[in-house]
Structure formats: structure tokens, C-alpha cells
Symmetry: C2
């Protein structure tokens, strides 16, 4: 697989949550010093910040602001909850515009007190509702299918086929898909659905990490690339076969990595990116 | 949903592992005293027992021995590991024959050090290898697709579509599928794949429990029916629309329920079965 390695870092993006103990200024300094070229900003990292100035600060560090994480969480049995979600997504669009990114990742949501079918319909309705604002702001929306183990509360969209179906139903150049290997690696239809996503010009983001055996926490035990069983290079080859040449985004939630020295962890991320992506 | 309730217990089966603190004699006494009519025996419950006599003991308690859990775990990067799995499955067939059941549930296995495709091929080869012995013993083999969160080590078969595909490929009346709501409830294709499974005469077993929100352990935090978000009645209606009228098997792994008084837990299982299945 050596020929397939990425030596330069021009497409490496890191999610702020990956190095959660860093504030966004520390993230900018450290990412930049290590040659990282992209950053995806989680909204919690913007608290108590002037968002426009933060975007400028990131660009001064030669960081592309790849996306804002995250909008979504549309479903709710109560109308009030759904309306609050719409308002929150409108704020996310404003924040993304201020920050100067053109992509919002949607963790679509689910409500265990209602059927998955109802949640899926509410997701589609929710995206449809905010689409005019997204378009006006020049922001694309990426539906991120989440692993089926999150179908109860985090996302009723659990396969790339479902995300592709919804993208086709919404039929807008402002809606596409985020492909995350952690959520999708097990899917026997992954290669063909990535191809389909590419044909729709809908593959907007590519997230990597790894699946550890054993995984001991439902949320915060993701592995560094190479530590687990996900065929990341193979999946990357499928993604790139569609023509995708955007950033490769490292998104790791890990109680154990967050406890480490983050500067050292960052060096290990860069190494893992060069060797195992 | 009231009209859909099952008041009588003639189709209620419980897996020995559900009441793990009971030994098999205690399980037989307690299940029988509560009107339960079926038992699925996990192999650990047979340790240090004469298996044939145990089967007779269960029938004397008016319990049908619905299946033996579990065979499978076919994949392995090393040939030696695969051969050991074949031998173990042959022992499972002997045990099932002695016990007097005509069904073995297969947890097919996976090996995180190789690709899912390799594991799937080895599963198919493994089942094919033991099929003559199964047929000779009059034992059917049920492929159980497991939740994608188990794709690293427990099963490379993670959707009912994959189990149906493999059943069709093996094309034998001795191979079919076990449908477990815990593993499959999230799947947008579940209804159509249950229908397909039925048309193949391959729906051999139906397992129930519930998915709690939050679920805090990857293995041992299953819920009692009604405690979670799985639409059990709806899935049962799909299963029964195929003509399935076999046992409905309660399979719950739960650290918290195993700590309770098992006689009381058993009464709660019966109640949950009558109200929420």
C-alpha cells in the first residue's frame, strides 16, 4: 500500500473536537505549526468569540475553514422541539457565514419516542425549511449518515444509501453528504453508494478515524487511523474514484486521547495520517 | 395496539442466558412454573451435564427446546483457527442432536485483522463445510445477522439482506435466518427483507428484547421489551405476515437484570411479553 501514502499535508484537516482540550487559538497555532492545512470548527469552540475575527485568525494561520460542525437534530415528537431545531440551524448558517466556511455538517437527529420513519420525514422537512437561508448564505449542507448504534437519539439516517436517497429527494446543489468511515465501514454497499454519491456531485466531506477492538464507549472511544479495523485506504480510494479531492478530515472523539498532551497527540495524528490514510 | 397483544404464553420461549444466574434445572423449574413453553439453551448451560438427559428433563417440564445457541465464529486469518471453528461447530451439531432440538443459531464471527469480505467468504465456506453433518443430524442452521456495532469481532453479517443473500447462495433447506429485533430494528429495508426471508422459507427464529436510550454497554445492556425504542409489535407483524408462527424468543443480556432476583425478573419478562411484543 506504500504507493498509496499521502506524504504531504495539503489535504489534512482536523476537527477542533479531536483536540478538545485546545481552545481554538491553541488549535490554530498548533495545527499550523505542524503543517495542517484545514480546520473544521465545532460550534462549542466559538463560544465567547467574535466569529468573524476567529475566521480571519484561522486564515492568518493558513488554515482553510473546511466546515462548521454541526447543524441538524431536526426530529422531535413535539412541534416546539422541531421549531427550536430550525432556529438553531438558522443560527448555524449565520455562524458558518461569519466564520467564512461554505459547509455545515448535519447530524440529523432522532427521537426514540417516535418511529424512525417519522424522524426521517422530519429531517427531510427540516432541511427543506432551512435550504433557502443556506443558499442565500452560500452554505452547503452535508447530511452525515451515522452508525446504526446511534439510531435511537442521534440520527435516523444510518446508511449512505439513505443519505443518497434524501439528497436525491431534496434535489438541490446546496445539499449533499458527509462520508465518515467510522459510521459506514461495515456497510456491504459502501463502494457502490460512494460511487452513486459522486455521480450526484454530492460527496461534500470525508471524515476519518478508526474502529478499535474492543470499543468500550458508545461515543468517545474512537481510534487513531491504523489502530483499528477500518479499511481506510480502500475507502479513500473509492472516495477519490468519484473525483473527490477535498480535505481529509480527522474527527476523533476519545476520552483517552483527550487526556494526553495534545501537542504530542497532534504529532501522532499527522503520523497516522501519513501512514494509514 | 391492544388487539395485537399476546395473552397466552404458548409461543413464549426464553434463552437460558436471559436468566444467566439460574442453572438449567432452575431455569426449567421457573420457566415451567410461569407457563413459559419454550427454552433456547446456551451451550454454557450444558457444562457438566448429560446432554441427552438434560433434554429429557426440559421436555418433562413441558418445554420445547427451540434452539441451541450458538455455533458460528467461522472467520480467522489463520487456517488453524478456522479449522478449530469447524470442529467446534461439529460438536454443536452433536450437542443439539443429543439435546433434541432441530435448530442451531449461528453467530457467524469476524476477524478484525482481515477484511470483512474475507470473513464473509470464510463464513460461507464454514457453513458449507458443516452442512452435511447438520443435514444428517436433522439440524437446521440459522444465520443471525448481528448489529453493525459487532462487525469487528462478532459478525461480518450485519443486515438481513446479507443473511438472505448467503442463505440463497447456500441454497439448502438446512440453512436459514434468525431475525433479532435488537440487531435489525434500525434497518430501512427490514420489512422487505423479512418478506424475502419468508418467501425463501428461511425465517427460522425470531428473537426479541429492546434498545434502551441510552445504552451504556456494547454487550450487556439490552432492555426488556417496552423499555426502549424498538417497534417490536410492528416487526412481529412483518414476521408473522410471512406465515411464521414459531416461538418468540426473549434474549436479553443485561448486567443489571442479572443482578436482580431472577424469579421476579422472570415475572417481568412474562408481563413485558404480554404487553409489548
Amino acid at each position: 500500500m506504500k504507493t498509496n501514502q499521502i506524504k504531504d499535508l495539503s489535504r489534512l484537516c482536523i476537527h477542533t473536537i479531536t483536540t478538545k482540550p485546545f481552545n481554538i487559538e491553541q488549535a490554530a497555532n498548533n495545527y499550523s505549526a505542524n503543517g495542517v492545512k484545514g480546520i473544521t470548527v465545532w460550534r462549542d469552540a466559538l463560544q465567547n468569540r467574535n466569529i468573524k475575527q476567529t475566521g480571519e485568525m484561522l486564515r492568518q494561520h493558513n488554515l482553510s475553514v473546511v466546515s462548521l460542525c454541526r447543524g441538524g437534530f431536526f426530529p422531535g415528537k413535539e412541534q416546539k422541539k422541531r421549531q427550536e431545531a430550525i432556529e438553531d440551524n438558522r443560527r448555524a448558517i449565520e455562524e458558518a457565514f461569519e466564520l467564512g466556511t461554505n459547509l455545515i455538517v448535519l447530524v440529523c437527529g432522532a427521537d426514540p419516542s417516535q418511529s424512525l420513519e417519522d424522524s426521517r420525514k422530519q429531517i427531510c422537512d427540516g432541511i427543506s425549511t432551512i435550504l433557502p437561508e443556506a443558499k442565500a448564505a452560500g452554505i452547503k449542507l452535508a447530511i452525515e449518515p451515522l452508525h446504526p448504534m446511534y439510531a435511537d437519539t442521534r440520527s435516523a439516517i444510518n446508511t449512505l444509501a439513505q443519505a443518497n436517497d434524501m439528497t436525491e429527494a431534496l434535489n438541490s446543489p446546496w445539499v449533499g453528504v458527509a462520508v465518515d468511515v467510522y459510521h459506514l465501514w461495515w456497510d456491504p454497499n459502501l463502494e457502490s453508494e460512494i460511487e452513486r454519491c459522486g455521480k450526484n456531485n454530492a460527496l461534500l466531506a470525508f471524515h476519518v478515524c478508526d474502529w478499535k477492538s474492543p470499543t468500550v464507549d458508545f461515543l468517545n472511544d474512537r481510534g487513531l487511523m491504523g489502530e483499528g479495523c477500518i479499511p481506510i485506504k480502500k475507502i479513500r480510494s473509492w472516495v477519490e474514484a468519484t473525483g473527490f479531492n477535498g480535505f481529509i478530515e480527522v474527527e476523533i472523539f476519545s476520552n483517552s486521547y483527550w487526556k494526553q498532551d495534545q501537542a504530542m497527540f497532534l504529532k501522532n495524528i499527522v503520523k497516522a495520517y501519513q501512514e494509514n490514510v
